[in-house]
């Protein structure tokens, strides 16, 4: 201890030329619970050390004692800005293991939902980048249109944020007319709004000077760090799971993968913007395909998989098989075939993978989530080294880090 009058200072603190700054765990600028211990020279960061795990909930352990359908609720809570994407990814994983083949109409309905939630994810991320560069208006404005997306969710599955949407094999019920009307309303109103949002930023000098050249990562480093999704594409690598390993009939759709060049904050912003336009185009295509189904085909909303898909209530009351399946599914007494699968989808912020091992029991033997932001967040300390603190904040939000996904 150093004596300076009455003030007791820790040893070495006078000689030390730098300041240690705790950014987080509950700092308003981190948009989530994670901590960065920054070593600062004035406003420049010389060293950053990230700490994660504040909202770790042991999902992988919990999943080892749950029947498959109960794990859907766990996936909701990974990337909670786009829960339906996680839900669909999980159902696809189960279907792969169980060998359930989904009808085309289910695939297209899923594509609509997945692209809507991709839009809601990118919309949050990009508008938060706006907030962190000083433009709060855009965030408040586009938030109204996320509300429209959430109303679609509500119409389809009954809940909004943690959706628990769909079942193994399809959806729990057919989309109502109101759901289609809401999708139409969104498709009609949102593009104009998003154009306004883009105009607000794309030619805004303050925004451009804050984002161009900050938080950059090269394609080589990004690949080495295991980047996926918009962050990797912003660095110039055209890797998209929807194209590389198509699932849910993505091969039927026509869309492009936007890529950036420098991998900086502005590129990430632009890539997400363009992906929103592509998602809108995919939703329109899927909507047309869904409308083209006529007659009994238009009522198909799940696969024929009685062992895993909960039967209709009327059948449970009147038919023996339906009653048995209902009981077995609800009580989690269905045996899962033994096997190992890895299924990934293009999540909101990268390749969301599910590695599922079954030993033939009723619950997974092991379930591992490949969480994209857990993997790419470790590059943060390298990206922000020798940059200004205020740029590091923008970088943090433009990487689209979701604490729930990171900590699983």
């Amino acid at each position: 201890m150093l004596e300076q009058g009455n003030i007791h200072l820790p040893e070495g603190s006078i000689e030390k030329q730098t300041t240690t700054l705790n950014l987080g765990p509950t700092h308003p600028a981190t948009h989530g619970v994670f901590q960065n211990i920054l070593e600062m020279d004035g406003e420049r960061i010389i060293k950053a050390e990230s700490t994660v795990g504040y909202i770790h909930r042991a999902f992988e352990k919990i999943a080892e004692r749950r029947p498959l359908y109960q794990i859907t609720t766990l996936t909701d809570r990974l990337n909670y800005c786009s829960s339906p994407l996680n839900n669909m990814g999980w159902h696809l994983t189960c279907e792969k293991l169980l060998g359930v083949k989904t009808p085309k109409r289910v695939d297209y309905l899923r594509v609509i939902i997945m692209e809507l939630s991709r839009i809601s994810d990118h919309l949050i991320c990009n508008s938060i980048v706006g907030v962190d560069t000083g433009a709060y208006t855009g965030f408040l404005y586009v938030m109204q249109y996320r509300e429209l997306i959430y109303e679609v969710y509500e119409e389809v599955c009954g809940s909004r944020l943690t959706t628990n949407m769909g079942r193994i094999g399809g959806f729990e019920r057919n989309f109502s007319d109101v759901a289609f009307q809401k999708i139409e309303k969104f498709l009609a109103e949102f593009p104009g709004v998003w154009k306004e949002f883009e105009n607000l930023f794309n030619r805004n000098r303050i925004f451009i000077e804050r984002t161009v050249g900050t938080g950059a990562i090269s394609a080589e480093r990004a690949l080495n760090y295991g980047f996926t999704g918009p962050n990797l594409r912003a660095a110039g690598v055209d890797y998209d799971v929807r194209v590389h390993s198509p699932y849910s009939s993505y091969e039927d759709f026509d869309f492009i993968i936007p890529v950036g060049t420098t991998g900086d904050n502005n590129d990430r912003f632009q890539v997400r913007n363009e992906e929103i336009w592509q998602s809108l185009s995919i939703i329109r295509q899927a909507y047309q395909k869904v409308q083209a189904f006529k007659g009994t085909e238009a009522d198909v909303y799940h696969a024929d998989a009685p062992e895993y898909y909960l039967p209709a209530k009327a059948d449970v009351y009147t038919k023996m098989e339906a009653l048995i399946y209902h009981f077995k599914i609800v009580m989690g007494e269905t045996e899962i075939p033994a096997g190992e699968v890895y299924q990934s989808i293009e999540g909101g912020n990268g390749e969301l993978g599910f590695y599922l091992i079954s030993d033939g029991g009723r619950t997974p033997y092991r379930l591992h989530f490949r969480r994209p932001c857990f993997i790419y967040y470790q590059a943060y300390s390298e990206i922000v080294k020798d940059t200004m603190l205020s740029d590091a904040i923008v970088t943090l939000s433009s990487l689209n880090l979701i604490a729930g996904e990171m900590d699983a």
Binding site: V52, G226, Y365, F374, Q378
Partner: protein, 167 residues
Amino acid sequence: MSLTHETIKETLVAQFGDKILAWEESYGMACFTVQADHNLKVLTFMNDDPAMGFQFLTDLTGVHYPDRKGEEIAVVYHLHNLKENIRLRMKIYVPVEKPDVYTATGLFSGANWMERETFDFYGVNFVGHPDLRRILNVDEMDYFPLRKEFPLEDQTRIDKDDEMFGR
């Protein structure tokens, strides 16, 4: 040239011989087991050899099989060749008493936290890792929670006072 599961298998067996212990295909993905002390050699070869090009580490995790004596802990790597778009699964098995595995952080920067997570949950000791600490759990924890000997709470237990949260 286009890469197939067969050519990969032939190349690997030619290079490493009996160090490649098992080869199987499940759900369209080739999956092979490597002798535990050869994991880094195989990964380096897969990474550097121009014909292989598995330069993207998708995922790294552990699994615990308490019944397999002498090879209780599995470490599973998912590799991806982005150019040819082929995924592979590589496994190694180590005994739970001495779970030493060479680290892949020299090849993949992204392996750093994935290995820390595997250490945190399964206690796999990644030899040569620059910073092998717990990552998601608290530092004071003295056990590895995803090992099978740690069961979740029994949902039918009756010794708790559940007036508020009764089950």
